[in-house]
């Protein structure tokens, strides 16, 4: 069977200062196989991909490519060998056309004849059901279309191993279906696919085999279709971590936040403007905002936090007009915000956890007559660490030294301990380990039960369905109607994510 063996890794070790990211990993991928690489953030998936793609060199171990031992020095060499990779964050120039972007990654002699290249792009994209116009500018493409550009770019270079890093996190459910049929067709023709994900249902429906990583080691190999999602999750997180939250039903109270026809115009030509956004939120409920990244989620959060000022009159919080207030004034009214970026917005990386508590919690008696009361700051910080199980060496640890999940627990805890009336959380469990995600979900539900109103902005549909009373979706800065979660089908939500707000039950095929 050596002929069919496309890639074999033996005992790959990669060490970074202070962390053994890959600790003796074995992996085999056969020709035409769709192989999943599963694991939590920090399990070593990305490092392993970088090793295969030549971005970093392993400290130990062997890599066999079609039966020959190789050492991949850089991505260019990987591409010339037939390894293609689509990163989670696309590497495309928005100001160039599709064809120009693809030409950039080709050898000069192939890139020169643009007519022929356009023809090839059309052929390849149509053959795999990913319609693309080579002349269009990337800035005009949707996220799903951009991903197609990345994949077509790989395929044009006769890729025999395609690596996809969390490809579905930026897609609507319909786009995911389309992508999967493309990938199945590719596999049928002999292309191997390495599919990195932590969405277990997708892996179960798509992949032939899976390798599960935990803390830099292989914790198991399996055929995902034959196991339940819970069984695979166990392999990912180990035996002692809870993997889901039991969410009680909410008992919403009075309307707390009323947003009507909120408009905001972006100065950035590639930014998103908010267009007639309306939503209302009651005490003791969680409202979820779904949507593909970059459709106005960050702008909505900033409009609510006060980081961008909107016209007055469009946002009422209890009896106050929120629109004209600065972030710190809103915080005094009981508005708490958990932004998407933990480092560099939610927390200052170089500062200690205690100092980061002061960032938003200064109103909790931590400052008196302009002077910081360090004892109180440390006390508050320790309380957050204790109550939310933040793993760190103490309140003097730099925020940047914590893992994503732990820092997120700290940030959520910092806001939660201020007894907010309204909490707006953006992607609170993005890139967070399962154990921390459960803790964060529990914290949100606890706040809800204490009467807080919560807006949850997320791309993780499972999370939204699990936690929210009502759901809506943002697309191009417009917000769909909000529907009770129990009555909202995932197909309908998918259409909302694609901007089809009016269409009823009739499903339009995604163009």
């Amino acid at each position: 069977m050596t002929a069919a063996l496309r890639l074999k890794l033996e005992n790959i070790v990669k060490e970074y200062p202070g962390c053994r990211a890959n600790d003796g990993i074995d992996l085999t991928v056969e020709a035409g196989e769709i192989h999943a690489l599963l694991g939590e953030n920090g399990a070593g998936k990305s490092t392993l991909m970088k090793v295969i793609y030549g971005v970093v060199q392993p400290d130990e171990g062997r890599m066999l490519w079609n039966g020959h031992e190789v050492r991949v020095e850089n991505p260019a060499q990987a591409r010339s060998m037939g390894i293609g990779m689509v990163f989670q964050h696309f590497s495309l120039f928005e100001t160039l056309t599709v064809a120009e972007n693809i030409a950039l990654s080709l050898p000069p002699e192939e890139a020169r004849d643009r007519g022929a290249l356009d023809q090839r792009i059309r052929e390849v994209s149509e053959r795999y059901g990913m319609a693309l116009d080579p002349r269009r500018y990337v800035s005009t493409l949707s996220v799903g279309e951009r991903q197609r550009v990345e994949i077509v770019r790989c395929l044009i270079q006769e890729t025999t191993l395609l690596i996809l890093d969390e490809p579905t996190s930026v897609l609507t459910p319909q786009e995911v279906t389309a992508l999967f049929s493309t990938l199945r067709q590719l596999a049928k023709e002999g292309c191997s696919i390495l599919f990195i994900s932590h969405k277990l249902e997708e892996v179960r429906s798509l992949c032939h085999n899976a390798t599960v990583l935990r803390q830099g080691r292989v914790s198991g190999d399996c055929q995902p279709a034959e196991l339940s999602a819970a069984e695979i999750a166990r392999m990912m997180v180990g035996d002692d971590t809870p993997i889901s939250t039991q969410v009680s039903t909410a008992e919403p109270g009075d309307v707390l936040l009323d947003v009507r026809n909120l408009n905001w115009k972006s100065n950035d030509p590639f930014g998103t403007s908010l267009d007639q956004v309306s939503l209302n939120l009651r005490e003791g409920e969680i409202v979820g905002i779904a949507g593909v990244a970059g459709n106005g989620q960050d702008e909505l959060l900033k409009a609510l936090s006060g980081e961008i000022r909107t016209d007055s009159g469009s946002m009422r919080f209890a009896d106050t007009d929120l629109g004209s207030l600065a972030p710190d004034q809103r915080r005094k009214l009981g508005v708490a915000i958990v932004p998407e970026e933990r480092l560099g917005r939610g927390a200052v990386p170089e500062m200690s956890l205690a100092d980061n508590a002061l960032l938003t919690a200064s109103g909790q008696g931590l400052v008196e007559r302009g002077m910081i009361r360090f004892g109180k700051v440390r006390e508050f910080s320790r309380e957050v660490i204790r109550r939310f199980g933040v793993r760190c060496t103490g309140e003097n640890s730099a925020a940047g030294s914590l893992s994503g999940g732990n820092l997120q627990k700290y940030i959520i805890g910092r806001e939660a301990l201020q007894n907010p009336r309204l909490l707006v959380a953006s992607h609170p469990t993005w890139g967070v380990d399962v154990g921390s995600a459960v803790a964060i979900h529990e914290a949100l539900v606890r706040l809800r039960d204490e009467g807080a109103a919560i807006v949850l902005i997320s791309e993780d549909l499972d999370e939204l369905y699990q936690l929210c009373n009502r759901l809506g979706a943002l697309c191009h800065g417009r917000l769909s109607p909000l529907a009770p979660t129990a009555e909202l089908s995932i197909e309908q939500l998918g259409q909302w994510m694609a901007g089809e707000f009016e269409s009823g039950e009739v499903a339009h095929a995604a163009a």
Partner: protein, 368 residues
């Protein structure tokens, strides 16, 4: 091959070792330079670094030069912590001197304890207005503060030259561009009798203490730090960047203005064109050498003050040009910035390229 590699964590040791290392390298370079010019390097370094402070008069002179540096540096630190690159201390200083002089000349016939405070206050307020121009340009027109403050320095200098050649020129001064001597009530008292050291040094040390309190204890200091380290986190927290920009510029204006006012009411006693040998610029070096920390800038201002009087000593004792002061200051800043790179980076030996494996790869690929 040597490779510069980013450290996973910034080196705390290097943060404090860097100024010392820079000083050592400056001394070594100075040694080589003296040799190259055919002067005795040991004598040269001794005249530059040791002779000037070997007696009480010398130490008093050191304190005299330290005072303006320390005051300017304290104000600049407030700006630099917030990453507001105010290069305008020289201009604030000159306007401070000018404002104080105008007031002192107005009050030349008055005496009383109130004269001196009024004169100093005039300098401080004048310099704050001057700093406010740059602050307003930044917060309302988004002008780069580096450019505006440098340009304002030149405007301030020319304004001072105009005034000292024109309205404020002493009519009985034989045509020299200088004002009348201020009245005794407008002069700062000496700290050590018999020396030129005046109350200005006390202002400087008080400014250093205030600086320490500001950044170690106060919430506004914390906000300035956050703005400097992470402006997005500051916006998220609602720390108004505009308000803090104004605060920092006004503080910088006030301290540098006080320095300028203390200079004309201290050792000089009148307004002359050469009020400043470049204190406002040298203070920038002081801030970086002192690690933007109160204790650090006290030490650094003493060292930089030494370069001024050391330079003078070399002119007298060894017949060297005046540029030697600027040379040592420049060397110090150059080495400091170089050494600072090693706070974030470290040098590593890169293993030689894997020629043999490369060949194997191409062979394998050919067969595949």
């Amino acid at each position: 091959m040597l490779l510069l590699e980013k450290r996973p964590v910034d080196s705390t040791l290097m943060r404090w070792a860097s100024p010392v290392l820079a000083l050592v390298l400056t001394v070594i370079t100075g040694f080589v330079l003296f040799l190259a010019m055919g002067k005795d390097p040991v004598d040269g370094l001794k005249f530059f670094f040791i002779t000037p402070i070997s007696d009480l008069i010398g130490l008093a002179e050191l304190g005299l030069k330290m005072a303006p540096l320390l005051l300017c540096a304290a104000g600049l630190t407030v700006c630099y912590r917030a990453k507001l690159w105010n290069i305008g201390a020289e201009g604030h200083f000159l306007i401070g001197a000018l404002g104080a002089s105008v007031m002192a000349v107005q009050l030349v016939d008055n005496s009383g304890f109130w004269v001196l405070p009024v004169v100093l206050l005039a300098g401080v307020l004048g310099a704050m207005v001057w700093a406010a121009i740059a602050a307003g340009l930044k917060t309302h027109l988004h002008c780069n503060e580096i450019l505006t403050t440098i340009m304002l320095n030149y405007i301030a200098l020319n304004l001072l030259l105009y005034v000292v050649h024109g309205p404020l020129k002493d009519p009985y001064g034989f045509g020299f561009p200088q004002s009348v001597m201020f009245s005794d009530s407008a002069l700062l008292p000496a700290l050590i009798p018999g020396t030129r050291l005046h109350l200005g040094l006390a202002f400087g040390l008080l400014a250093a203490v205030a600086l320490w309190v500001l950044f170690a204890r106060s919430f506004i200091g914390f906000q300035l730090n956050v703005v400097g380290q992470d402006h997005r986190a500051a916006a998220f927290a609602g720390f108004g960047a505009r308000r803090l920009t104004w605060f920092a510029f006004l503080i910088a204006g006030a301290t540098a203005g006080l320095a300028g006012a203390s200079e004309v009411t201290g050792p000089i006693g009148q307004l002359v064109p050469q009020v400043s040998p470049g204190y406002g610029y040298t203070a920038i070096i002081v801030v970086f050498l002192g690690r933007m920390h109160a204790v650090g800038i006290v030490a650094a201002s003493a060292l930089l003050a030494l370069t001024f009087i050391g330079g003078e000593m070399l002119q007298i004792a060894m017949n060297m040009p005046k540029a030697v002061t600027g040379l040592f200051q420049g060397l110090l800043l150059f080495y400091l910035l170089t050494c600072d790179a090693f706070i974030h980076y470290r040098v590593r030996l890169k293993p030689s390229a894997h020629q043999s494996t490369k060949a194997a790869v191409t062979a394998a690929h050919g067969e595949a």
